[in-house]
Symmetry: C2
Subunit: 299 residues, 2 copies
């Protein structure tokens, strides 16, 4: 499958509409506490690939989900992603100064503000998922909140970050690396797919499981490609510090499999993701295109 201009236009459209939703859903910049709200907006607006919102919208298309509902889910998962970056960049974590071509939140503001902005963003994401009607019946929405909160916690994203930290400077195996990534970035990516789909008609167990497997594969592929790009690109292209993982002696797919091995693995994951969608028809075209996009992206 070849990326088309039509897909590019769709992706651009989602990025724009996500930016607009976030603008409207984040606390207004004028309201008190102003510095905190400024930091929350700085962490979230004006950048990012918006891959998670795209996945939510693409998954929503497979179940005929109303776009207005998916927009809330897309904003919520992106807000969680933004909070995780603000915390991840802190001196006590990755100590990074550059993100999306801009100073990181604690550099632009200060450490305490970056910490609190992340904390408040997490609460805001849950608030959005509780305030807006996202599914019928409301029981389905409670189920969405379960999936969402689980993906953020110690058995999801936060747990993956803890394992990532513990791995620095250690010799780890490929299964250990995979387990870490399945939690660290994979959990929220899978949740983005499932939550987008759950805004629409309820899915039977089997197609839901296939969507989840798709999410698992693209989540891992995303990370493998990140490692490849971190190795091959320079800082300007990435908009964040390149070669950082190697410098930090962090295990990566490239360091464990070699560059060619990592590229072959990314292709394998792409095939696996596409196979998981075999039972779906044209309503899953965006999910298929997104899998290609995630594996073939250049930054």
């Amino acid at each position: 499958m070849v990326m088309t201009r039509e897909f590019d236009a769709w992706a651009r459209d989602i990025a724009l509409s996500t930016e607009r939703s976030l603008e409207a859903l984040l606390p207004p910049p004028a309201g008190e506490p102003k510095r905190l709200h400024d930091a929350m907006r700085y962490a979230t607006l004006g950048g990012g690939k918006r891959v998670r919102p795209m996945l939510a919208h693409a998954a929503g298309e497979t179940t005929g989900a109303p776009v207005d509902r998916v927009r809330i889910v897309a904003a919520a998962v992106e807000i969680i992603h933004a909070y995780s970056l603000a915390h991840d960049d802190l001196p006590c974590m990755d100590n990074d100064v550059l993100r999306r071509g801009k100073p990181t939140v604690h550099v632009e503001f200060d450490e305490a503000t970056a910490l609190l902005a992340g904390d408040a963003l997490q609460a805001l994401a849950f608030e959005l998922m509780a305030v807006h009607r996202l599914a019928d019946p409301p029981d389905q929405q409670l189920k969405m909140l379960q999936i969402f909160s689980h993906a953020c916690g110690s058995h999801g994203m936060a747990g993956g970050q803890a394992i990532d930290l513990a791995n620095v400077g250690r010799q780890i195996t490929l299964p250990e690396l995979e387990y870490m990534h399945i939690l660290k970035t994979g959990a929220l990516i899978r949740a983005s797919v499932l939550l987008g789909a759950m805004c629409g008609a309820a899915l039977p167990e089997e197609p839901a499981a296939r969507l989840d497997h798709y999410g698992k594969c693209v989540g891992l592929a995303f990370q493998v490609v990140d490692d490849i790009l971190d190795c091959e690109s320079n800082t300007e292209q990435l908009g964040k510090t390149a070669g950082k993982d190697q410098d930090a002696n962090k295990p990566t797919y490239v360091s464990l499999m070699g560059l060619a091995g990592a590229k072959a693995f990314a292709r394998e994951l792409l095939q696996d993701a596409l196979s998981a969608l075999a039972g779906f028809g044209p309503e899953a075209v965006r999910l298929r295109q997104l899998a290609e996009f995630i594996v073939h992206r250049q930054h």
Copy 2:
């Protein structure tokens, strides 16, 4: 009203049952990522006055809420409280080394683990509130999640912490101090009262507003008494560093009103809290006793 042994027994009982629920609801210590789970348990278990759980249970009694449901709410609000302390104690915030008579989380573990443990605890609190059936119909439970997440975010606890930070070393007025505390500690205390009550029969608007006013008064009173104790006690009695606010040049009720003024204000808030409960009968006896307890406590 005089504190009775009977109230003491009830309070001890709530503290014990909260500890037991938290034990069971937190990730087990053996599961991976172990260090993160250990830190989450360390931050939450084995200490604390458990005032928020007591308020949730006392409020639940006013609406005949099933105790099993209130236990989940009590655990969730206490988990949020524990996460806020773990983050508040970090070097970039209050930089405190002692809490509840033990080393703070980042001292016992490390900064990154304290940060992630706090993040994961916040997610866990929301997960508990979404996984367990807490109210009928489920719409009421979504409403509870709205109140809960709002109380945690930038218009609640996290916002109050940001204002607190901005106030250090500044001359502020009494209304500014009050506004900060209404967010910083008040928001979660009010949520504890409302959420406990919402586990039971739905409350009409007027008594709900009175319960909320009660929560606002005891939340403020709690802080005023904290400032009084911080001024009058020593570190051993408090289990946390005493005199710290004065040392940090933080505005307190004592520094703005004087010791006698702060004590008179605490008594006023107590009367206001009790008046808010005037329309309730004997089902609000625990809320009345708790207001007395909060104002008359010695640590």
